[in-house]
Subunit: 176 residues, 2 copies
DNA sequence: CGTCTTGATTTGACTGATTCAAGACAGCGG
DNA sequence: CCGCTGTCTTGAATCAGTCAAATCAAGACG
């Protein structure tokens, strides 16, 4: 069978090449990988792959809507294949781990700004900052377990059970 | 009178220096300036000011909570003095202009993620992407008027009149 | 008012992420 | 199977931001 990725590539008018299939494969495994992680991972399938090739592939995938680029402040860009459905991200301040979240409200009232200053808004992007389960254990609130090492132990349960709001510690004023 | 900035600096335990007063002054004029703009602007008050000094000053201001750093994807970091009140930002895809917005809802329901994957969330950050009034005129929807030239014609009416939601073109699925 | 301590700034080199450019190469339509 | 065109390779460059050592000055003290 023709690795389902091939179909997707052709569907958007992109040629099916080894580098592209390798990158897609890595992204399927690690939902929020940075460029460097992708290069490393993709080399297992295509050893001669260069970083620039990966950047090129990613740019093409993003341009065609097969991938999405997210750029948490202070960290290198991450890429994910989950597109189309709008979802947001949880980012760990300590280790940089990223998890997906679906918005709790169907039609989000607060995502329509109160005044737009004449802007025509076409997208709202939300990033939740906090600490992942691992980093809550040691350091509790600061000391990074392994700062900026977001390669392996990434969390990404796309659909998680409903927790209670009372569990979260929402900093006063941080959320309007 | 001692330029009110001096008080603020001392209040958080920072020494009052010429570079710091210059940076604060520039920030007061241009609410969303990038590091480079600040260097240029601050040099009018203190010609010998070096970029590194500005980075140092900004880091100190942010650390002490006198300034806030925002990093829109794909653009250099911007700094603003409006802190404490939580507000979000409108960013123009074309020219990079930034405007402040207050959240439309007091306690934002959709800013509490539906599932947190065990994360302890302490802040929600929202960025609205779109096109500013200037860039809507020419190009309409793409062609940048003057890509990445966000120095002078920045928009920032902190408190704007209430517009109607129907004015905005919310892309299907973009807002969950 | 002068001295001293310590924090702030200067200077200059450096890193890390990403992009640009030119030529070699390979999908895939014919 | 051939060739056109888009893609990849290789190598160099850019850009924002950081680091470290040496100099300088704010403000406490006497």
């Amino acid at each position: 069978m023709e690795t389902r990725w091939a179909h997707q590539l052709r569907a958007v008018g992109l040629r099916v090449t080894r580098p592209r299939l390798s990158v897609l494969s890595v992204l399927a495994d690690r939902p929020h990988a940075d460029a460097d992680t992708i290069v490393t991972g993709a080399r297992e399938l295509h050893p001669s792959l260069s970083p620039q090739a990966v950047y090129g592939v990613l740019k093409a995938l993003v341009a065609q809507g097969l991938a999405r680029r997210i750029e948490p402040a202070g960290a290198p860009a991450l890429f994910e294949l989950r597109v189309g459905d709008n979802h947001h991200h949880l980012v760990c301040r300590s280790c940089g781990a990223v998890a997906d979240v679906d918005c709790a409200v169907g039609a989000a009232p607060c995502l329509v700004p109160s005044g737009t200053a004449g802007f025509v808004v076409d997208e709202a992007e939300v990033v939740f900052w906090g600490f992942c389960p691992d980093c809550q254990l040691d350091g509790q609130g600061r000391a990074p377990a392994e700062p900026r090492q977001m390669s392996e132990h990434q969390i990404s349960e796309h659909q998680m059970s409903e927790h209670h709001i009372s569990e979260h510690q929402i900093r006063g004023g941080a959320i309007a």
